[in-house]
Symmetry: C2
């Protein structure tokens, strides 16, 4: 792992790293925020932040305003990139397919299947690397994200309950198999057999989960002025599935807020507190 | 004035505007944050934020994390661009001259003198426009900035004490007439007669100010890992001038912090509180 930079912020440290990833076959960048006081002898819980379409490893670090609360609560935050990158990596001219639009799954279809393996990258390769290189608690990891990254947080969180003890999302794509963004990406990455999509659809996963009444609550914030709400996001579908499975969901609708990082910044402190509460109780 | 966008953030409203500026002879963009509850019948104090080299009207809005505290304290924040812009406006290939590097003065030399009139733009034209278009208190305005914008905040604040009742800066260029960034810009914009530079040099203005022991305190934050500290910033020169003039200066040195917006975000709440305290007592 190559450390690209290290900057002090809120008495903690923001580190940018780059490494050659086996799972995606390219160089990948990510950031790690280390709260003050963390050390090998005093490791901290970790929240994984998954960003949305068109984002890189930079959007969250500069715009979310998360580090004040993370420093106070003693949380590490890891923010990976949203896809493999590079001239040798397949891409598409559209903003919602290819580089910048990995959708946190392992593609099975050409030309994507070699590099577009973000599910393996996030849950396995990068997870192991972060545990080896930083003073992070393996047994206290949570996952959060925005839009496409909210889809990632919900699906990875539901698929790996032993790995992620807390889940939250901002304006997530909760039912990708039923909305244009998801249908386009899943067709390309997973092929036309829609049965293979269900394992990457948070609403389908929740419906198939059985009784989740004993599971940790999930927090979702959604702006009511979000330009993608009606066509792409549809949080009511996930809420209905949670109700069926007994999953406690705190779904908050916020009048006037859009899809931007200004919305995220406004409510990020509540997400940090949600993860801190669950992760400090974990392990 | 054309409103380009309006977004809710921390229960307030961030508005981006564009207008044809007389003073700079081009279209100019700026942002205005309106805290919740402000109205024509209940106008709020205003803090002017001046950004640094290479910045546009966007860096502060997305990265400073200022609106949480501004919403709490009930402050309007106006963030203008750092220079005139456009294909018809003179420019230079260097990052520290021309577009993005207006230095908050009125240029007297060709080819800059027609458009590079940021002093008149900020203190007069945009100031009057904001007072006319937004519920802002004319009698409760403060000024703050970063790096080149810290130079702007200090010099405009010292030159217009009736307009600006509170001053603060992050990592300001306090003695531009004596450091490379300032000497290069002043030579180009003001010509070789260095006597004309003194009115745009915060340290020279402070030295010439006479007794300022009754004036409001000035707050400056400076990172000790700032890569520009020794060559370009030199806060000790301004501190010495303040000591001579009896000006109360709170100059805080922060170990480990660099020149970035992560540094600004870490301490912006203290600046918001500084301005709120002085401006709420003004008028």
């Amino acid at each position: 792992v190559k450390q690209l930079s290290s900057q002090r912020v809120f008495e903690g440290e923001l580190v940018y790293c780059e490494h050659r990833a086996q799972s995606t076959g390219c160089d990948m960048r990510f950031s790690v925020f280390l709260p003050p006081g963390v050390s090998a002898g005093a490791p901290a819980p970790v929240v994984w932040w998954l960003s949305g379409l068109t984002c890189t490893a930079d959007n969250f670090t500069g715009k979310a305003g998360a580090y004040r609360a993370a420093a106070e609560q003693g949380l590490i935050i890891v923010a990976p990139d949203t896809s493999p990158r590079g001239a040798d990596v397949p891409d598409d001219e559209a903003y919602d397919l290819g580089q910048g639009a990995g959708f946190y799954l392992d593609a099975t279809e050409a030309p994507w299947q070699t590099n577009f393996r973000m599910h393996s990258y996030i849950t396995d390769e990068l997870q192991r690397l972060v545990m080896a290189e930083f003073p992070a608690r393996q047994d206290a990891q949570g996952i959060a994200g925005h839009s496409m990254g909210g889809h990632g947080a919900l699906t990875l969180g539901l698929r790996h309950p032993d790995l992620y003890r807390s889940i939250s999302a901002f304006a997530p794509i909760v039912a990708p198999a039923r909305v244009p963004w998801g249908r386009k990406a899943f067709s390309a990455y997973l092929g036309d057999d829609e049965s293979s999509w269900q394992g990457h659809d948070a609403t389908a996963l929740m419906t198939a989960a059985g009784d989740r009444s004993g599971c940790a609550p999930i927090l979702i914030d959604q702006g009511q002025a979000d330009e993608f709400l009606d066509e792409q996001l549809k949080p009511e579908l996930f809420a209905a599935a949670c109700a069926e499975s007994g999953q406690v969901l705190e779904l908050r609708h916020h009048a006037g807020y859009d899809h931007s990082y200004f919305f995220i910044a406004t409510f990020i402190d509540d997400h940090i507190a949600h993860h801190a509460r669950l992760l400090n109780a974990a392990g």
